[in-house]
């Protein structure tokens, strides 16, 4: 009988703090609405927290040296997300609880299960082919989200009522593939590429995936009009290639290509031109194209410094508040103080992710951890930046906080992979390899 090999006091303490925040948040909407704490609200939060507590105990037993920040961080975001989504999108209340519990299971299976990261490395090309096939199938047979207006982007694949967004899966596939691809070509790192006059271009093996990804992003953008996913995939590619090469010219070439693509699309793709126009001036279109943006800004502004308090704000006016605009709900009800704290918690996640990458024992694991961190951080920055009108709005979810089955599950898998890589003996005997 294996014994508990180590207590994880920091994880336990952080988990307790996360539980306090989640339970206090869960109690508030009932107090506002009915004048009493609604047991089912507290019960839902308690169920998710219990699942994370079980995961904590399992980690003490099976992975005592794994990173102590990830699990409490997931519990904190999971609890907040549950409360916000249950109130703002009551239709999804049951589904949200189910997805949150599934996410805990996904983290546990990925972090503690028998499949090593070596398996991902071995099947990198199979995964990449499957990912590209998935995007192709979506291009042909994709459908719009349920209840969306006619002509909305067709980003969903599904059978019957079960649907998922392949671009979410594509994000993970891309990170795994690039980690394997770059690891295969480490020796080329110091070599130069083709010359044009006095200019030495980055090596072709580094430019090739960039060009392919840029093309694929443009394709997704033009055919599917999925601006957010295209931007995210391109940012992940660029970030990982920069980490692997530390060459500024790779970034310069990529940004030049990006700028060229953006200018071209501004003139040729209606969705890009619209997004840019309402970003620069949402007020003149405040009743149609800019409605969501304006309502989001009003929601954020009405929060003030400490917010209205959970349950007291009116963020439900903002369209898609439970997915793309969950940050506006956080800002309205928790104020600048709470929104800044939530961003700081994402900062903690990025810090731990890069730290896990730094101390990883295998270069594939290091690249994978860095890629996962880049993906989560960019996704968070792109959607928060869009909500705050720091950059054009693109519809992607806020990792861990938004409602969104496939998004939440993929983010959970990312977190699970980070946890697995953070275990110092990432090559245990008897593992599947």
């Amino acid at each position: 009988m294996p014994r508990v090999r180590g207590w994880r006091p920091l994880e336990g303490a952080l988990l307790a703090v996360a539980a306090i925040v989640a339970l206090a948040a869960a109690a508030a909407p009932g107090l506002v609405r009915d004048g009493r704490v609604v047991p089912s609200d507290l019960g839902a939060a308690a169920a998710v927290l219990t699942a994370y507590a079980v995961l904590h105990v399992a980690m003490c037993w099976r992975a005592p040296d794994a990173d102590p920040f990830i699990v409490p961080l997931l519990a904190l975001f999971g609890g907040l997300s549950l409360t916000l989504v249950r109130r703002l999108a009551p239709d999804f209340a049951t589904a949200e609880l189910r997805w949150q519990l599934l996410a805990v299971g996904a983290v546990a299976v990925v972090a503690l299960g028998p499949v090593e990261t070596r398996v991902l490395q071995r099947y990198r090309y199979s995964l990449a082919s499957a990912g590209i096939a998935l995007v192709g199938v979506t291009l042909l047979f994709g459908r719009s989200a349920e209840g969306a207006v006619a002509g909305a982007p067709r980003l969903w694949l599904g059978i019957g009522s079960l649907g998922f967004q392949p671009s979410e899966v594509m994000k993970l596939v891309l990170i795994v593939f690039l980690a394997g691809y770059i690891d295969d070509r480490r020796e080329l790192l110091s070599e130069g590429g083709p010359r044009i006059g006095r200019w030495r271009l980055p090596p072709v093996p580094y430019l090739a995936p960039l060009a392919v990804m840029l093309g694929l992003s443009l394709l997704m953008l033009v055919v599917q009009r999925d601006l957010g996913a295209a931007l995210l995939l391109f940012a992940i590619t660029l970030g990982m290639l920069y980490l692997a090469t530390l060459r500024a010219d790779v970034v310069a070439v990529a940004l030049a290509a990006f700028a060229g693509g953006a200018i071209y699309l501004h003139g040729h793709a209606e969705i890009v031109a619209t997004r840019a126009a309402i970003w620069l001036d949402p007020w003149s279109a405040s009743q149609d194209a800019g409605y969501q943006l304006v309502q989001g800004l009003v929601a954020i502004a009405s929060g003030g410094v400490v917010g209205t308090g959970i349950g007291r704000g009116q963020p439900g006016i903002v369209p898609a508040v439970h997915t793309d605009y969950i940050f506006a709900a956080v800002a309205e009800e928790l104020g600048v103080a709470g929104a800044a704290a939530v961003l700081a918690v994402y900062g903690v996640l990025a810090w731990r992710g890069f730290r896990i990458a730094l101390v990883a024992r295998r270069s594939f694991d290091a690249l994978l951890a860095a890629g996962l961190t880049i993906g989560l951080a960019f996704q968070e920055a792109i959607i928060v930046g869009g909500n705050l009108r720091l950059m054009p709005l693109t519809g992607i979810t806020l990792p861990f906080l938004s409602y969104g089955g496939s998004s939440l599950l993929i983010c959970a898998v990312c977190a699970g992979l980070l946890l697995r890589i953070s275990r110092p003996s990432s090559v245990p005997d008897g593992g599947l390899a």
Binding site: I20, V21, L31, R118, V306, L334, A341, V427, D429
Partner: protein, 153 residues
């Protein structure tokens, strides 16, 4: 103030204070990690170079405690042109390569018959793995320890 308003205020305060307590704990952990690294650093700036210490020599004539001073690239095996020669039947002619890269030591199994282990975990051939100061490296029946004083941990 009604009791409900008081309860709501309490819930709001708990949420905000809790969020900042979470960040505070994380910051404290970060500070402790940095302090540990700084404390370990000055003591570690020794003049000694990295070395491999024999823990178990197997059937070779290397006694436990024997030390090999090592350079940035160390070929380990039974053939006499290796940098570290281990004359044990469980060691392959060209068994493993230990090399300094990206600020760390990496060991790679060169396709040996009996494999390479780091801290008792078996490596896949051809996939470099980070070895830190204090780790034990198992090659066949021989076990070595890497000690590099200029590295914390």
């Amino acid at each position: 103030m009604t009791p409900i308003e008081a309860e709501l205020l309490f819930a709001r305060a708990l949420v905000l204070i809790g969020l900042y307590a979470f960040i505070g704990l994380a910051g404290y952990a970060a500070w402790r990690e940095l302090r540990q690294a700084r404390r370990a650093a000055p003591a570690a700036r020794g003049v000694h170079a990295a070395r491999l210490i024999v823990l178990e020599g197997g059937a070779s004539d290397r006694m436990p405690g024997t030390q090999f001073g090592i350079g940035p690239i160390v070929r380990i095996g039974r053939d006499i042109d290796n940098d570290v020669v281990l004359a044990d039947p469980t060691i392959s002619g060209r068994h493993a390569l230990l090399a300094r890269r990206d600020g760390g030591w990496w060991i790679e199994d060169l396709g040996s018959r009996n494999g390479v282990e780091v801290n008792r975990t078996r490596l896949s051939a051809g996939m470099p793995f980070v070895v830190r100061s204090g780790d034990t490296v198992g090659l066949g029946a021989v076990r070595l320890r890497l000690v590099c004083p200029d590295e914390t941990a």
